[in-house]
Symmetry: C2
Subunit: 106 residues, 2 copies
């Protein structure tokens, strides 16, 4: 099992909207994540917009590829893109910065 | 159950040492964390030293208070303090910046 942590930066002026959107994530998007093997997935936000994502999956490469292959993900990422800084034209799921795991205690 | 995410900043010149220390965390420290109710605890590092911690616990206030009451934690935090930036005299476990959970998918 892989534990994954990634970072993105939400624009300060869009923080409230971004939080509100995540109280009502589309059910199809949640279904697609589950079907693609994303488990125990959380998002955390710092006041300045730094966003931390954490999830668990059996195979990160496969989990990302499966999501990338869905229509609902393309629509969700297009809807979310304007909320983020510094994507340089990438989709949020492509622009996320992956961190390195250095410690785990079960 | 609470899912907790916190940030700290490791000094760039101490990154290799910090990683090495976390491949050999003292067994008493691991035991103390378990006894204090810290579960599924991971640390992730960005190349510039940004450190992300994630763990799960039934009661965050109690989990922190229980660790703070142990001798081994005082020794561990004192050993780790020189690795971090911007603690302003606080112990790392006191200086960690807590983030807000905005989304969860089981």
């Amino acid at each position: 099992m892989q534990r994954v942590c990634f970072l993105l930066k939400v624009k300060r002026e869009r923080l409230a909207d971004y939080k509100a959107a995540h109280q009502n994530v589309w059910p199809e998007m949640l279904d697609a994540l589950r079907a693609a093997g994303w488990r125990n997935y959380s998002l955390f936000l710092r006041d300045d917009g730094l966003l931390v994502g954490y999830f668990e999956t059996n195979d990160l490469q496969q989990a990302r590829a499966r999501m990338a292959a869905t229509d609902v993900n393309a629509r969700w990422q297009a809807t979310m893109a304007p909320y983020f800084e510094a994507l340089d034209g990438r989709r949020p799921d492509e622009g996320a910065e992956m961190l390195t795991s250095i410690f785990h205690l079960a």
